[in-house]
Amino acid sequence: MTATGPATASVTAALALGDDALVLSHRLGEWAGHAPALEEEVALANIALDLLGQARVLLSLAGDEDELAYLREERAFRNLQLVEQPNGDFAHTIARQLYFSTYQHLLHAELAAGGGPFAPLAAKAVKEVAYHRDHAEQWTLRLGDGTETSHERMRRAYAALWRYTGEMFQPVEGLDVDWPALESRWLESVTEVLGRATLSVPEGPRTGAWSAGAGRQGIHTEPFGRMLAEMQHLHRSHPGASW
């Protein structure tokens, strides 16, 4: 995909944002039947549904939503590596949620204010994502400032996903966003929540050597292929099937 004009640039941006939402929605859906409590199962499924709704609008701006979701190969997906990371334990899922929903909230707030092609969706998404962020924050506080075990598991989860967070602030073509400013607001917000949860901000690089993240260029981590295989299996095995 070589971007030349504004139309192509906005397709690139729609794919990046749409794939983030689609992939994270699928990952959260994997909790169905496995969540630690019924309320939590319902919460994660509802967050997944919000993300799926956002993905449908965004992918429809880029082409046919079903074809894009079910018939693209791994290398054609433009989502962040963060969102494709396996659910891990509940702490990993919550850490991924806080990192991503804080980013998504700040990004959509800026896109909503900017008035571009993504403004109508962003204005809705920002309100939905505020609840996702709040959910992740409340769990981070409860588990971080909880027992010795829950604290340690939260600490490990935030540390494990830290190296995927730099990628969020690589500029996306077609989005008129002040990325360095977005990044510093993200860091400030995450630092504040972790501090209240008696957790420290993880050490280690978020960009450059030993960090991760080339999902926007179509380079994905090993678990992503297996996730896609499961997500696309039915559609590919039974083309044109409908309820």
């Binding site: 919460a43 549904l49 204005a123 939905e128 609840y131």
Partner: protein, 175 residues
């Protein structure tokens, strides 16, 4: 701004009278999701419908119900467009809609200028401490209620429990 004709106003009222597929006590008008009806010609109508949540699965059922009602009223062709902007807010639910929700056992959303989650203080499950305006129990009316889960049977509701009558209830949360 084009002035709506009498027929358009009538069709808007008809579309608005369709019950919400999830909460059939409410009409789409009371929910505040039918934005406009325009006549393209004598028997072709276009309806603007806005989703509550972007991923709300009820929107397809709503569209079909609106199409059916307007066809029964003599429209040959009905197109329902989904419009996102301006974003729907729980402030768009009419006072009548709020009253019906309460009677149905769902605590209505609080009216507010800005949307988003209310900041909460953390306790084991008690979360009412920092809230500015309490969510009243739709069963007994008590203000002493606690949040059990931010997400309930649908994305638009939270699950709460009354600390007075001990009944759990859904709260249509502010968006």
């Amino acid at each position: 701004m084009v002035t709506a004709t009498a027929l358009e106003a009538e069709l808007l009222e008809l579309a608005g009278s369709v019950p919400d597929p999830e909460l059939p006590v409410l009409t789409l008008h009371e929910l505040g999701v039918v934005r406009a009806v325009r006549l393209r010609d004598a028997d072709t109508a276009e309806v603007d419908l806005t989703p509550t949540y972007t991923g709300c699965p009820a929107i397809e059922a709503m569209s079909l119900d609106i199409e059916r009602v307007l066809r029964e009223h003599g429209m040959r062709e009905v197109t329902v467009r989904t419009v996102l902007s301006p974003a729907w807010s729980t402030d768009d639910i009419s006072p009548e809609g709020r009253r019906k929700l309460r009677e149905f056992g769902i605590a209505p959303p609080r009216v507010r200028g800005s949307s988003g989650p209310v900041p909460l203080a953390l306790g084991p499950t008690r979360t009412q401490a920092a809230e500015t305006e309490p969510v009243h129990c739709p069963h007994c009316g008590a203000a002493d209620t606690e949040l059990l889960s931010r997400f309930s049977s649908t994305a638009c509701k939270a699950l709460r429990r009354c600390l007075s009558c001990r009944e759990p209830f859904d709260h249509f949360k502010e968006l």
